[in-house]
């Protein structure tokens, strides 16, 4: 069964689990635990600690499937970022557009994967773009990567993000991205 994989990563509370849930054929496998860090308590009740896993059946005849893996957001779980990147066709980095800290964290993820020598397409999704006008500037990152303003609960938005990533993959134009 050919299975391909897309990694969904980004800071805490950026909508990764929701993003996967929105398009997954199966109820996503989640590893959520109660938030215990002081700085995050109150923002949401639970957070991913190992990974989220969703799947889209592409073609029954060929048994072709697309796996969606979500990473934990916090940097203390960065060892899982390392594990989950294995074999990904591309990376979707999500950040909460209404949260400056979240947007400012995008380079952390870019640099992490860059330091690992990961050379695959990356698309950035700014979530909650529909809910608030306070969309923080992501600087010159937008010159190197496609940046989409999305609502992670909106199927069309999620589809658009994935399609942008896959199209970028097919163009093989991701290799020269600078940031």
């Amino acid at each position: 069964m050919p299975a391909y994989k897309i990694l969904v990563t980004g800071p805490f509370n950026s909508g990764k689990t929701t993003f996967i849930k929105t398009v997954s054929d199966i109820a996503p496998v989640k590893t959520e635990k109660i938030v215990t860090e002081k700085e995050y308590i109150g923002i949401k009740e639970k957070t991913t600690v190992a990974m989220d896993f969703g799947m889209i059946a592409i073609d029954k005849k060929d048994n072709l499937v697309l796996h969606l893996y979500g990473t934990p957001g916090q940097t203390r779980f960065d060892f899982m970022w390392d594990i989950l990147i294995d074999g990904a066709l591309g990376i979707v980095i999500l950040a909460d557009s209404t949260d400056k800290k979240s947007v400012n964290a995008i380079p952390v993820y870019l640099n992490f994967y860059k330091s690992k020598g990961v050379d695959i397409p990356i698309v950035i999704g700014l979530t909650r773009a529909d809910k608030n006008d306070s969309i923080y500037d992501i600087g010159n990152i937008a010159q190197s990567f496609p940046v989409l303003k999305i609502n992670a609960e909106d199927k069309e938005d999620v589809k658009k993000t994935l399609l942008t990533l896959l199209e970028r993959f097919s163009e093989q134009s991701y290799g020269n991205a600078k940031y």
Partner: protein, 395 residues
């Protein structure tokens, strides 16, 4: 038919490709069906349709017929005599069969003295056998000569005769050197390169790593203050190295005057902190051979800062569960099922290499040793990418 070949350089375990090439089914053994099902689901999710499941009761039955397997996974609370016999049977049938033993239950004490590891991955039985076949005497001699002051000899429990030989040789060590010797008789369960023990005071995990004849000890779960509180370092005089983590640590405290036990602590939440590295480097060069067994990226990150230790990186995958186990001891059950899926990729990789199936793997020297960084060429059939795109468009 034309194919569009898209090449990307990635780190990948390629289970989606390898699974088609698995020569034999996977064998899943467990005491309870529900446990087997956890792994079976993971198998299925990854496309491993070829697997066989059996409970421990099944394997006792005459109707249970052993076949050849790509690898075996055993999920059990206890590594019982019955399971030992079964492993022996499997090994007799397939000497190189990779076996993973998951015991996700903590603090299991059997045979009065032996504390069963919380998780033991029987990944590398070949290594143990090879070690014994080559010359267990070498290790013993190295210990006697002071070449290796702390030496692990790995014994294969499925070969009683060899085990007895090693134990006998080990026991011949002078008492003064006893601190350098593992009490193999009490360690019959150390049939692989590393073991997870359980702290019998707090129930948390303390580990002993055995690799390439070296030992690395670590407690991931405690702060320095907690350690000092739990273990009374001041009055310890033990000289045995035991699977009992307290004794291990006490042994170390006694071994060199002036060493404070707390300095051995590697707090997982901080990985290797500057202080820890400083602490590690207080050992006089050559006084101990202690391997740092850790994810290769940690090793590569810190190798230049740790001077006197033989660095060794386990093959990828060994540490996946390890990391999670330490980081999430209380969440481990939930995580196990998904991590298992990831882990499979590594096992398959091992099988693949053993089966001499062609691969595009390259090795890379990132930490002074050949590590398991793999770059692979992914080939996507013409049409597959288009199918994925079309499917998503139509969602």
């Amino acid at each position: 038919m034309q194919f569009v070949i898209l090449t990307i350089k990635i780190i990948w375990l390629e289970y989606h490709i390898t699974m088609k090439k698995l020569p034999d089914p996977i064998l899943l053994i467990g005491s309870e069906k529900v446990e087997i099902e956890i792994v079976a689901i993971a198998c299925k999710a990854l496309g491993y349709d070829q697997y066989e499941t059996a409970t421990v009761s099944d394997i006792k039955s005459d109707s249970f017929k052993l076949k050849h397997y790509s690898f075996a996974i055993i999920l059990e609370k206890f590594f019982t005599d019955q399971l030992k016999d079964f492993v022996k049977l499997l090994r007799n049938r397939q000497s190189n069969l990779p076996i993973i033993f998951f015991s996700k239950y903590s603090t299991v004490k059997i045979e009065n003295t032996i504390r069963l590891p919380s998780i033991t991955l029987v990944r590398n039985m070949e290594y143990a056998i090879k070690k014994l076949d080559s010359s267990p005497q070498e290790d013993v001699e190295a210990a006697q000569n002071g070449t290796t002051k702390l030496s692990a000899i790995i014994a294969d429990i499925t070969d009683e005769e060899k085990l007895k030989t090693v134990i006998k040789k080990t026991k011949q060590q002078p008492a003064t050197k006893s601190a350098t010797i593992l009490d193999l008789e009490r360690k019959q369960h150390l049939y692989d390169t590393f073991v997870f023990a359980t702290n019998n005071v707090t129930g948390d995990y303390v580990s002993l790593f055995f690799h390439e004849g070296y030992v690395f000890l670590v407690d991931f779960s405690k702060t320095e203050d907690q350690i000092n509180q739990i273990y009374n370092w001041q009055d310890v005089t033990y000289n045995t190295l035991s699977i009992d983590d307290q004794q291990v640590i006490r042994f170390l405290r006694k071994s060199k005057t002036g060493w404070r036990k707390s300095e051995f602590i590697w707090n997982a939440s901080k990985y290797l902190t500057t202080d820890t590295i400083k602490a590690l480097n207080i050992f006089p060069e050559g006084s101990f051979k202690i391997s740092l067994v850790a994810p290769s990226f940690i090793i590569s990150r810190y190798q230049t800062r740790i001077k006197h230790f033989s660095l060794a990186s386990l093959a990828s995958g060994d540490w996946t569960l390890q990391s999670l186990q330490y980081r999430f001891p209380t969440h481990f059950d939930e995580i196990l099922k998904v991590v298992t899926a990831l882990y499979f990729g590594n096992i398959v990789d091992i099988v693949k290499r053993k089966s001499s199936i062609s691969s595009n793997y390259k090795t890379s020297k990132t930490d002074g040793t050949e590590t398991a960084i793999k770059y692979k060429t992914v080939v996507i059939k013409e049409g597959f990418l288009a199918k994925i795109i079309n499917k998503i468009r139509g969602l």
